[in-house]
Structures are given as structure tokens and as C-alpha cells.
């Protein structure tokens, strides 16, 4: 059977991981490649790197990061953060990235999704969507959930799929950081509406939250950052419990 995927997310700035890491004997906790390698050894199924470098050198630093990761890591990974044009994506593909994740740039210019899918194939194009509920409706937000748009989230996700998105990374900003569980109800609605994989993000606090998101929404993958980085949940333990709950996961 096709496995449900567990995906640690690493925030990277100027080639270094920015969130604190406190779970294994890392020589250098700020080295994204060493951290990524550790996660792959633990049984992570995939990795997402979110590059928040804000300098003019950003494309160069992202390409260097992707090359170092591709040299060392034997599982698929996605790179996101500030990808605005075909040339950015092309450089990252050639550096060994399996997928790129686009957020604000796609909202501002939806035709970018069509262009990327045509140039590189749908499997390369992950659309990241930050959603927050306003007056009972899920609305797409930009800039890490601070800036609301006019778009209803489900409409935008359907549009992204029809334009050539190969996967949706959906972060609930209302749940993000709460450690109170994923937004299972909305994830189920989105997952039922599309025919491409959905990655759940925002709210992971316990092993039970992962069981719930897979059982209740049937999404393809679940992403988290701090619970993994701080060692609150160890991936081998998580997978053991998921398997005991009849959720198909990869054994390593």
C-alpha cells in the first residue's frame, strides 16, 4: 500500500537552520544538511526546506543549500521560499531539488503555476497555502498569515490544481504553533475536493494529532517542525504508533 508520509520542515536563513534544535547529538545544530541527514536516518519520508533568506544573494544561497542536500540525502525533498520565476525553479531543479514550493508568488501571479507545470512537470510544483478563518470562511493569507487576500482557500486550491499544481501544502495559521492538533475538518474538505496529494501542516503537538489527521482527513502526508526539532516526538516512535493504529507507514 501507498504509505502516509511524515515530513519534518526546516527553516533556513543564509544557509543555516534558524529554529532551535535539541534532539540528537548533532555536531552542528545549525547545519541544515546534518539535520536533514539525521531525519532521513530516523525514517523521515521526505523533507521540506523553507528558505527565509532575504538578501539579494538568496538564489545563490538556495542553490548551494539544495546541492549540499542532494549530495548527502537519499530521500525526496522540497525547497520553498521566495521562488518568483521560472529561472529560480530551473536553477533549483538542476541543483537536485525534487520539488519546489510556491506560495505568495502563485497568489500574485497564478499563471506562474501553469508555466512551472509546463516547464518541469506537475510533480515538481507544490503549492503552499496559508489559511486563516475570517468570519467563518477559510481565506488565503500571505506573509506568514499576516496579510489576508480576497481568495477563499478551497477555491484557490481548486484553481491551483487545475493550473497544474502537483501537490498542496496546506497550513492552518489558526492551528500553527498551538500544538492542539491539525485542522482535520478543513483538511478533509480539501482532500476530498482535489485529486492531488495534500500535506497537512499546522498544529502538530502529539502523536495522537498525527493519528487523528490521517484517520479523520485521509491526507497523504503530515508536516511538522518544532515537535521534531525539539525531540518531543521521535519519528521511529511516531511511526510505530501509526502502524499500531493501522495507518500504513514506511519501515526503514
Amino acid at each position: 500500500m501507498l504509505s502516509k508520509r511524515i515530513i519534518p520542515c526546516l527553516d533556513v536563513k543564509d544557509g543555516r537552520t534558524v529554529k532551535g534544535v535539541n534532539f540528537v547529538d548533532l555536531r552542528d545544530a545549525g547545519d541544515p544538511v546534518e539535520l536533514a541527514w539525521n531525519y532521513s536516518q530516523q525514517g523521515a519520508d521526505e523533507l521540506v526546506f523553507l528558505d527565509i533568506t532575504a538578501t539579494v544573494e538568496r538564489r545563490k544561497t538556495m542553490v548551494e543549500l539544495v546541492k549540499s542536500v542532494a549530495r548527502q540525502i537519499n530521500i525526496p525533498f522540497t525547497i520553498g521560499g521566495g521562488i518568483n520565476e521560472i529561472a529560480d525553479a530551473d536553477a533549483l531543479l538542476n541543483a537536485g531539488a525534487d520539488k519546489i514550493s510556491i506560495n505568495s508568488a502563485a497568489v500574485r501571479n497564478p499563471a506562474l503555476i501553469d508555466e512551472l507545470a509546463r516547464a518541469f512537470g506537475v510533480q515538481f510544483v507544490v503549492i503552499a497555502v496559508d489559511t486563516r478563518v475570517i468570519a467563518g470562511k477559510n481565506i488565503v493569507h500571505l506573509n506568514g498569515g499576516r496579510v489576508p487576500t480576497e481568495k477563499e482557500t478551497l477555491d484557490w486550491i481548486m484553481e491551483a490544481e487545475s493550473r497544474g499544481a502537483g501537490e498542496i501544502l496546506l497550513t492552518s495559521m489558526d492551528h500553527d504553533g498551538t500544538k492542539a492538533g491539525f485542522d482535520n475538518r478543513f483538511l478533509k474538505e480539501v482532500n476530498n475536493a482535489v485529486n492531488i496529494p495534500v500535506i497537512a501542516s499546522g498544529g502538530a503537538g502529539s502523536v495522537q494529532d498525527f493519528i487523528d489527521v490521517f484517520k479523520q482527513s485521509n491526507v497523504d502526508a503530515a508536516l511538522a517542525a518544532s515537535v521534531f526539532h525539539y525531540g518531543e516526538i521521535l519519528i521511529p516512535d511516531l511511526k510505530k504508533v501509526l502502524r499500531a493504529n493501522n495507518i500504513e507507514v514506511r519501515e526503514v
Partner: protein
Amino acid sequence: MNEIKQESNLRDTSPFRGPGGIGIIQYGAGNIFSLTAALERLGIPYGMINKEEDFEQYDRYIIPGVGHAGAAMAKLEHTGLVPSIKALKKPVLGICVGMQLLTSYSEEGDSKLLDLFPIKTLKFAGDTNFKVPHTGWNQVFPEMGNALFENIPNGSHFYFVHSYFIEYNVTYTLSSTTYINKFSASIMRDNFYGVQFHPEKSGAYGETLLKNFSKI
């Protein structure tokens, strides 16, 4: 152009360049950075095949490939290497679309392919319960004993990304996977092998498979 530049840089700087290794057939269908990185991690010598004379330098060959099978076949034909590939007697491994090229036909683009295997590449039937492309880690079950799967337990997970699959065939299917239907996860005929999954992205078992191929 970027892609070609990248690959030729790699070729020029690789410490593993040289005879006796794996020749990767270059025809411009997809990026091979991750594949060459995996070979380097494993210490398997490799180089690039751009023209007919390059074949004799290597003991085995990989046909990589992602994207559209019909477009990939057109690019492969454009290299002029097709007659040499069909005549190869040393081990050949097609990966993903590179595997599909070994079959007779693909529904993708209604394309005639290399016909080294008299079986077809078909599109997954639309089904509301199954998303297409088939994306992620799925289990692979050997259908017969083979050195390619040595030290890889039955039912190990490999990483797949594909919308078309090679039909199951009792003679040529080396291992199978089930998604919507049972299909060929890998095939073998004489010296020709193909894998639908990406061994270079399939963790430790993927690396074991590449290592096994380097010894066949």
C-alpha cells in the same frame, strides 16, 4: 542549456570518472544530479554517454528519465544512440521514464518506444479513491529471485512518482507494486532491467539496489 552545462560540469569534476563503471545515457530528459550524487556516495564509478564511441568505456549503463515518455523517446532518437542501445549486451538499467522507454508502446503521447520488452506502458485509470500521479513510498514485492534485489526484504518501500505504469507480465515482471492495479515495479529481460521507482531517492534500499546493479 542550464541543464547541459550542469551535467558537463559534473562530468569534468567527478573523481569517479573513468572506465569500468556505469555509463549514463545523456539525452536531455530530466535532471540527473541526484542520481550521480547517489553513485558518488556509493563509490560507484560513472560517466556520461553522449556518442556511440562512449559505450565501450563502460561495463553497464543507466537510462535515466523523467517527464513525458513520448517526448523522451523523441529526444533519445535525436541522439542517434537508439541502434547502439538496442544492441547492448552488458547490463542496462532504465529508471522511471527510462524504464518505460524499454517497452513497446506508451499511452502517453500514443508513442512507439524501444520495444526491448513486448509489453506496454498504460495510464492509470481515473479513480476518485486514488490520486494520480502515484506519488510517494509504496511496497515492492519480488516476483522472482534476482541479484538486483539481493539484501532487500520483500515488501520494502521505494519512492514512486508516475502517472503511467508498465503492465504486469508473468515473464518480464521482476517485482510488482499495487496502486489502483498491480503493475511492474521492475522488469527484466536478458541484460535489460528497468525500475519504475527512483532508487536514488529511495533511502537505504534504493542505494542497495544501485549497488547490486553495479555488481551484476
